[in-house]
């Protein structure tokens, strides 16, 4: 029913693309400023452009890999658990963090996985808290007494 996201096997693809775009755009801004500031006068524009060209796609790729992997794990966990709750995201974050740090060895993978799971737990928690806060707006009230404001009430 969540129409803002695609259904499961496809969501990994769209998440990868979305995360890549996010990283590439954010990286362009970030490395543009950085390249601009770190270039000598007279070469600031070309310095910024060079930094963007060299670094923004890399950052985008990093983001994209993270997003795609997270989404894949999320789908896999949804399929296995057959439930839709915040633990899906937390477990998926755990595996994503671990998988991305696996080349650093067992210890690095473990630490990164825990950090990632905690991070996603915080995000989910904030989301739930926010939703609960917004829920107060959905309180139903009786309409004002004259029922002639367009309701198809008998």
């Amino acid at each position: 029913m969540d129409h803002s996201r695609d259904p499961c096997p496809w969501v990994a693809l769209s998440d990868f693309g979305g995360a890549f775009c996010m990283g590439a755009i954010g990286g362009a801004v970030w490395h543009g400023v950085k390249g601009f500031r770190n270039s000598p006068y007279g070469e600031r524009r070309i310095g910024a452009l060079t930094a963007i060209k060299a670094r923004a796609p890399v950052l985008g790729g990093n983001f994209g890999v993270w997003g795609g992997m997270f989404s894949t794990f999320d789908c896999a966990i949804k399929g296995i658990r057959k439930k839709e709750d915040p633990y899906n995201a937390i477990i998926a974050g755990f595996f994503t963090g671990g998988a991305l740090a696996i080349r650093g060895g067992y210890k690095a993978a473990r630490n990164s996985a825990i950090m990632c799971a905690v991070f996603l737990g915080v995000i989910e928690g904030v989301g739930i808290g926010f939703q609960r806060m917004m829920a107060d707006n959905t309180k139903l009230e009786l309409p004002p007494p004259p029922p002639s404001e367009g309701k198809a009430v008998m």
Partner: protein
């Protein structure tokens, strides 16, 4: 302290005595490195007296630490050259020689690359002449650095590692203490009288592990219930029962009224179930319609607006109104603020109705089949329940358990009709009296479900019609009235509602703007 005050003196001697040829190489001790620049001599030594016999006495002191407390060299008048400990005596000259032998690079042709030299030095694993900071005489000690010594790399423990480990220990100790303290705090006795009374049964005050555990559980439960329970204790507002329909029909959204599908070409698309408009408009006259969905309001609201633009569904309830338990969103009807004997829940998932299964009619999910008739087929049953004023819907729903409600209801209706007709026939035999013939077929023709009732109804007498038939007739008329009203005034209503919404939105914007300017206060608002 002594060395500091004496040092300028000592350095001065070096200067004055450099003219003398010395057997030792011109080596400055590291101790003196900072004070190379001599200060103005305020006291010139009257006569530099070379004290030859003392020299051999000083040389062995090279093995001693440089910063000795006694500092015997300052107690004599010996020349600094003779007094200084010889350092790195052997290898130093060779190194300086090597450097000196190299021809100076021709810098007019550009700066020569040092890469080759660096690579060379690295391949020899030696810190060659490029190394400025390390003492070449101790080259062997430095070489062991990269873990290539006789110890494996992890046998070394740097001070950083040690500090880190200590910090980790301290942190875990703090966390453990905090956890224990927090647990004890959570399990403390109830502070106030009312808390005490509220938990008198499940978690009373007192000592004991079990009691502690119970109190912790009760406190955590109080905290999480804010997130897990329905947002309001009364989901629907209080209302005089005479001003509304006596029965309440609670409907689910997804796969009951609509079905959403995703395809790569079109993305998400939502389909209305066949007959859903008729279902809602027809039953509106008997039931207070409530939409109760486990989808968050952000998502479901848009669908609902499209599905029901005239707001025939009176109250929309979303995920915020559900209770979250064991990983499921449960629709707890006891929060509905309505008499449960007059509430019917129609849903597609059994878990949603776990708390009040007697009130629930569980239908199969609609998977988008355009020939589906389930909703319309359900109307006679629902109409009968409300029209006949059933005392308690739960017993009726229970009696249909395990069977398809439309089919079973049609069967029962047929039985009832036969019995009624028999009675009528007997009555007619006693005193034959004919009234107006009411052919209802034309009036009822719109309804597919009247197929079951049609033949007997058409042949029945006007007063011979069952009460239930008359109700149905009246319902049909009402429905047609509503339909006509909507067709005539629908556009107007929609425009009115849109205008109203627009007004509310602008009002909200205005108030928000006001609060912003108030917050970041420019003075004119005061």
């Amino acid at each position: 302290m002594l060395s500091r005050t004496v040092l300028p003196l000592a350095r001065h001697r070096v200067l004055t005595s450099t003219v003398r040829a010395s057997s030792l190489s011109i080596q400055h001790s590291r101790l003196y490195a900072k004070n190379v620049k001599p200060k103005a001599p305020y006291k010139l030594p009257s006569s530099p007296k070379p004290s030859q016999p003392e020299a051999p006495k000083v040389t062995p002191s090279a093995q001693q630490p440089e910063y000795s407390a006694e500092q015997p060299e300052f107690e004599t008048n010996a020349e600094p050259e003779t007094n200084t400990a010889p350092q790195a005596p052997k290898s130093d000259p060779t190194v300086t020689d090597k450097v000196a032998q190299k021809p100076l690079p021709d810098l007019t042709q550009g700066i020569p690359s040092t890469l080759a030299a660096e690579m060379d030095a690295r391949s020899k694993k030696r810190s060659g002449p490029l190394n400025l900071t390390e003492d070449p005489s101790r080259g062997e000690e430095y070489e062991g650095d990269g873990g290539r010594g006789d110890h494996p790399k992890d046998a070394y423990e740097s001070s950083l590692d040690r500090r880190r480990a200590r910090m980790a220990n301290v942190m875990s100790a703090i966390m453990l203490t905090a956890a224990i303290g927090g647990t004890v705090y959570m399990g403390r006795n109830w502070d106030t009288e009312e808390e005490e009374n509220a938990h008198k049964v499940d978690a009373p005050s007192g000592w004991g592990l079990g009691l502690f555990y119970n109190r912790i559980k009760a406190r955590l439960g109080d905290f999480t219930s804010y997130y897990k329970d329905p947002a309001f204790p009364k989901l629907l507002p209080d209302e005089d029962p005479k001003l509304r329909q006596p029965y309440t029909l609670v409907l689910s959204l997804e796969d009951l009224l609509v079905h959403s599908e995703w395809s790569r070409e079109h993305g998400w698309r939502v389909a209305k179930r066949p007959g859903v408009d008729y279902f809602l408009r027809y039953l509106n006259q008997y039931y207070e319609l409530v939409l109760f969905t486990s989808v968050p309001s952000m998502m479901a609201d848009q669908v609902l607006r499209k599905l029901d633009p005239y707001r025939i569904i009176r109250w929309p309830l979303f995920r915020e109104a559900t209770r979250y338990k064991d990983g499921e969103y449960i629709k707890d009807l006891s929060y509905l603020n309505r008499d449960l004997s007059k509430v019917i829940l129609i849903d597609t998932k059994e878990e949603h109705a776990r708390l009040q299964p007697d009130n629930a009619i569980i239908l199969d999910k609609w998977n988008g089949d355009p020939k589906d008739k389930t909703l319309v087929a359900l109307i006679p049953f629902l109409e009968y329940m409300a029209g006949m004023g059933v005392e308690d819907v739960r017993t009726v729903i229970q009696s249909f358990e395990g069977s398809s409600i439309p089919v079973e209801f049609a069967k029962r209706e047929k039985l009832m009709r036969e019995r009624f007709e028999n009675e009528l026939a007997e009555e007619k035999k006693k005193r034959p009296r004919r009234g107006g013939l009411g052919s209802l077929a034309s009036a009822l023709g719109v309804k597919p479900q009247t197929v079951t009732g049609e033949p007997s109804a058409s042949e029945g007498l006007a007063e011979g019609k069952m009460l239930w038939d008359q109700i149905r007739e009246r319902g049909q008329k009402n429905y047609e009235l509503i339909e006509k009203e909507i067709q005539e005034n629908g556009e107007k209503w929609l425009a009115e509602m849109a205008a109203e919404e627009e007004k509310a939105r602008q009002e909200q914007m205005k108030s928000m703007k006001g609060s912003f300017t108030g917050m970041f206060g420019s003075g004119d608002k005061q």
